[in-house]
Symmetry: C2
Subunit: 252 residues, 2 copies
């Protein structure tokens, strides 16, 4: 559907992006309140309070910031592509650093409490998400920010990069929901079935994360919100392609 | 990328579909083995054995059959569209019936064991998935199998139907992973961290479900596996559109 259609959705974009930001911030705040109000707050000393850094960092880095890094291609549709790419990479780098802090927190807590690592489905899914996230960031950097790959290889890799970006967000949200369920059953199994305030808050956090994911994926999969083709950039891209292919790969 | 590209993926379709079927069947078998071998088998008497019908029905109906119902549009790309639509609707109906049996099983078990319903994040996500699944099936039937809606309304609803189909599969798999984690923590919390055979099997089931979902979504989102346009069907569709719009909605 183009913008001339009877019910063009283009004007909805700011509302959808605004809605996603409200949901993403809500998720971060709810995680902070859950850990701060019901689980004893935060510390960095191998205690349960260090563990509490884990959900907060994961929801902030791997979900909220990753979602926002994906969104920049829709929000800044009319800005210079190179700047948008840089912003996409920088937000992802920030997300990666926060995510690694969150991972260190949980491994530290496990070591101090003599709890085995990597046995649960949550840990398997979470670790797969982190490994894929790192691979995606390194490959994205090499392929799209530094011209290491030929233009043909970049064009071939782009759909996979986009698919894996959306997959990573879904995997991060899925892993978060598994973590919420695990934490609730470890902490309040005896009372969870009566839905105490902590259980209700954590369930709502899960629902907010799901809604955040649905909103981000629906924005990025809508054809009418994609970056419009820019003839100047196309010309530059072809020029660059000719140059790089001429220099490094004469027969693509 | 079209089929003339240097690395056309069209020939991969049978392998990808075959792989998805192997993964889907593996998931059903693993669920059956988990419930049959480690959780006491199946029954329909309000006992824990009746509960065991729940994961089996959900993995079979809401995940495997739903995935296959989505796939028919890619597998039967060159068959009559009406027949493919019918098959899509029939597999979904079968999935819906099996899913409802699975829901009855868990509510029956809860009533017999005096366990409250609908308190966990798993139950919230699962119920949201079932409600959306029912709405999607009824709307799909009205819009696409019976010509209740105008051609313009059908064309407008189609992208939403496709998006919600993929979303439903992801939600079904996410809810299943939450259910696996819940069941493991309710049953083997004390030993889960040492990864006993039951824990390993259930974790692998979760990974197989994730891989099944990734494969199905990657098949249906690849442009080159879409149904090729059929001039005869296009002509019929335009004819039908003119007829229905002329009869029911003169000013779309």
């Amino acid at each position: 559907m183009d913008e001339c259609g009877p019910y063009s959705r283009r004007s909805l974009l700011p509302w959808l992006v605004g809605g996603s930001q409200v949901l993403g911030l809500c998720a971060v705040v709810l995680t902070g309140v859950w850990m701060g109000r019901y689980r004893g707050g935060f510390a960095w000393d191998g205690s349960a309070q260090e563990f509490n850094m884990h959900p907060l960092c994961m929801v902030l880095g791997l979900v909220f910031l990753q979602g926002d890094a994906i969104l920049v291609y829709r929000v800044f549709r009319n800005e210079s592509k190179r700047n948008v790419k840089l912003l996409h990479g920088i937000i992802h780098l920030l997300a990666l650093i926060i995510t690694i802090v969150g991972m260190v927190a949980v491994f530290d807590f496990h070591r101090a409490s003599k709890i085995p690592d990597m046995y649960s489905l949550h840990s398997w899914c979470g670790m797969a998400t982190l490994v894929l996230f790192c691979a995606q960031w390194v490959l994205g950097l090499m392929f799209f920010l530094f011209p290491v790959a030929s233009a043909w290889l970049r064009a071939t890799y782009l759909p996979l990069h986009v698919f894996c970006g959306a997959l990573l967000l879904v995997m991060a949200i899925g892993s978060s929901l598994l973590g919420i369920t695990e934490k609730l059953l470890f902490s309040i199994m005896a009372t969870y079935s009566h839905l105490p305030p902590e259980g209700t808050l954590a369930n709502i956090l899960g629902v907010v994360l799901v809604c955040f994911g649905i909103l981000i994926i629906s924005i990025i999969t809508k054809e009418e919100y994609r970056r419009p083709p820019n003839p100047e950039e196309e010309a530059l891209s072809v020029h660059f392609k000719t140059l790089t292919e001429g220099a490094s790969s004469p027969t693509p």
